[in-house]
């Protein structure tokens, strides 16, 4: 079907157009937010140093810091132009909180940790939640369902960091099963297996808290989707045809219920960085979330800006990929061409 291919290509182009405009909007928003907000990074650095040294800084030092970190006084259009130019060359500026380190260097160091911790636990939470959710939705009202579904509602309402702090207190502090902070054994040599085992050990508790807190959402979503789908004609038909329960569940019901779950999953993957702030703050994990927290504490605007931009683009890319897969997979999107914007 050449017209089908063409239609798919058009749908694709439309989505691409949306994401390009969205990316541009995000980039521009990112440029505007710090310029619309009051705040003075030099002041933040001065305050930080005064706290660190326990002393007020001499006026000359304060002057020097103002010169070093003070604002740019160019025309805003010129600034925007420079900003775009810098973006294309991968230059996100220099962190004021870690002067003179490049923002890209900081994000680059922190990113693998976040990807590792948040990526693994998001995938785990998704798989576990979706699996149990499909079972609950398939047989609503069973004991598993009647316990797990309300429990998930409760879990979704408990502040994540509160659970995490409690877990940290119980398992790391009272019981001592896990380390209290960090991402790896600081004394281990990065090339040794001991180091990698320590990475596992250090990451386990944070990962478990994420899985614990977030799989409820997947569970509920999948349960309800499965419930809806099993009421639809094609599933009833499949059941009437006498196909085995498992076959109907996996071939028909779950498969169709999965589509919205997958979109959610793409969103969740994209939101990993943003979601890592609380986890990494609680567990002092050396990822982008901690970096963002640090940036906010230090009023490190270039770093905040860089992380925000990076995060937004990550979400956009994840969504674009999910959308693209969607166009290929979902028969409805194929038939109608859909509209992304």
């Amino acid at each position: 079907m050449s017209s089908g291919t063409r239609r798919r290509a058009i749908a694709f182009a439309r989505r691409l157009r949306f994401y390009v405009i969205a990316a541009w909007s995000a980039v521009t928003l990112n440029f505007l937010i710090p310029r619309l907000m009051p705040g003075d990074p030099a002041q933040a650095v001065v305050q930080q140093l005064e706290v660190k040294n326990g002393q007020n800084l001499p006026p000359q030092t304060v002057e020097a810091i103002r010169k070093l970190l003070g604002g740019v006084h160019e025309n805003i259009a010129v600034q925007y132009w420079h900003y775009l130019g810098n973006l294309f060359t991968g230059n996100l500026g220099i962190s004021t909180g870690n002067f003179p380190t490049r923002v890209t260097t900081l994000i680059g160091t922190a990113l693998p940790w976040t990807m590792l911790l948040m990526g693994v636990s998001t995938v785990l939470a998704f798989l576990i939640g979706t699996g149990i959710g499909a079972l609950c939705g398939w047989r609503p009202g069973t004991r598993t369902d009647s316990v797990l579904s309300p429990l998930s509602t409760f879990l979704a309402a408990v502040p994540y960091f509160w659970v995490a702090l409690f877990a940290l207190w119980l398992f790391a502090f009272r019981l001592g099963w896990f380390p209290l902070a960090g991402g790896h054994d600081p004394d281990a040599d990065p090339s040794s297996p001991r180091y990698w085992l320590s990475v596992l050990h250090y990451g386990l508790l944070p990962a478990l808290t994420i899985v614990f807190s977030s799989c409820g959402g997947w569970l509920l979503g999948m349960r309800n989707m499965t419930l809806t789908t099993t009421g639809e004609d094609f599933v009833l038909l499949a059941r009437a045809k006498g196909l085995s329960n498992t076959r109907v569940l996996f071939r028909y019901a779950a498969r169709n219920a999965m589509l919205p779950q997958l979109t959610g999953f793409a969103l969740a993957l994209g939101a990993i960085i943003a979601g890592s702030v609380l986890t990494e703050t609680v567990f002092t994990y050396p990822g982008v979330g901690s970096l963002l927290k640090q940036a906010i504490d230090n009023r490190d605007y270039p770093l905040m800006q860089g992380i925000l931009l990076f995060t937004t683009l990550a979400v956009l890319v994840a969504n674009f990929l999910a959308d693209s897969v969607y166009v290929l997979v979902d028969p409805r999107t194929r038939a109608q061409g859909g509209d992304a914007s």
Partner: protein, 291 residues
């Protein structure tokens, strides 16, 4: 309303929610007159006291009565939750219903903005904007949470409105000469109420949680008592490490209880609105599907 209140889930949820609302409205009066404790008083002679007859839930590291603070926190948290939910629901209706109903250029523009906000990392944005705004007041925080949190609801509403717009009864009223404004308010909106109320409840607990998260990260109004700032203060003063569970546990439990209450009410509404599954929930999922 009657069948709703006969549903045990709705009943339980409403009871908890009512308790929180009462605490928010009359909590200060109750604390001062019934408990004899002012949540704002720092009694620096009794710091970090475990629960006792005088301080039923003990005292904080600054000598505040934890029970009085927890009751006072209901107002702080609920105000943020309600205000942010009002803002996000209003924006959601504005963007979602307008886009879905009027279609055309309006839809293109509004839906683009909606999608843009959906793919933005909302929590990070909220955090950063709140962080930029330094000494933020409660209302500013509620405003930020609301302004960044409407897009998901708008998307559901748009999908639902589009489907309603195409329904025969709406088209029929339109063919009778009904004005578009009246169509929105009398034909479309009433049928969205279950979805909107579910969205609103969801947004309330979302706002409470977001405020707590922001407070935990140090972005909060330092002069307001909310469950979030209580946890932040407890964390700041090492309540966990020092074993001051009475300080740390109550605010978290309250947030969880309020969240569960809204969840129960939503569940109940779903069950009433659609014995199989709530129309609202389905619409939300279709919205996801449509993405």
């Amino acid at each position: 309303m009657k069948p709703a209140l006969r549903n045990p889930k709705v009943l339980a949820g409403s009871a908890i929610a009512l308790l929180v609302v009462l605490a928010a409205l009359f909590g200060d009066w109750f604390s001062v007159h019934a408990l004899g404790q002012d949540p704002h008083t720092l009694d620096y002679l009794v710091i970090n006291q475990p629960p006792s007859g005088h301080h039923l839930l003990g005292t904080t590291g600054s000598g505040e009565d934890v029970l009085a603070q927890t009751i006072a926190g209901a107002r702080g948290s609920l105000v943020v939750g309600l205000v942010s939910a009002l803002i996000s629901t209003a924006l959601g209706i504005l963007f979602g219903v307008c886009a879905g109903f009027f279609g055309g250029v309006a839809d293109t523009v509004l839906n683009f903005i909606t999608n843009l906000f959906i793919v933005m990392p909302v929590f990070a944005l909220t955090l950063i904007v709140a962080g930029y705004l330094n000494n933020t007041g409660t209302m500013t925080i509620a405003l930020i949470i609301g302004v960044f949190g409407w897009a998901g609801g708008a998307r559901s509403l748009r999908a639902q409105t589009m489907s309603l717009r195409g329904r025969d009864h709406v088209q029929a009223m339109r063919m009778l000469g009904e004005s578009r404004t009246r169509l929105v308010f009398s034909e479309v909106l009433p049928r969205l109420y279950p979805l909107i109320s579910a969205m609103f409840l969801h947004a309330v607990i979302g706002g409470v949680l977001a405020e707590a998260g922001l407070a935990f990260l140090g972005v909060s109004s330092p002069n307001t008592i909310s469950w979030g700032t209580m946890i932040q203060n407890a964390q700041n003063q090492n309540a966990i490490i020092n074993g001051l569970w009475w300080w740390f546990l109550p605010p978290g439990f309250c947030i969880a209880a309020l969240g569960t209450a809204t969840g129960l009410i939503n569940f109940g509404i779903d069950e009433i609105a659609n014995p199989r599954l709530g129309a609202a929930r389905r619409a939300a999922q279709q919205a996801v599907k449509a993405a």
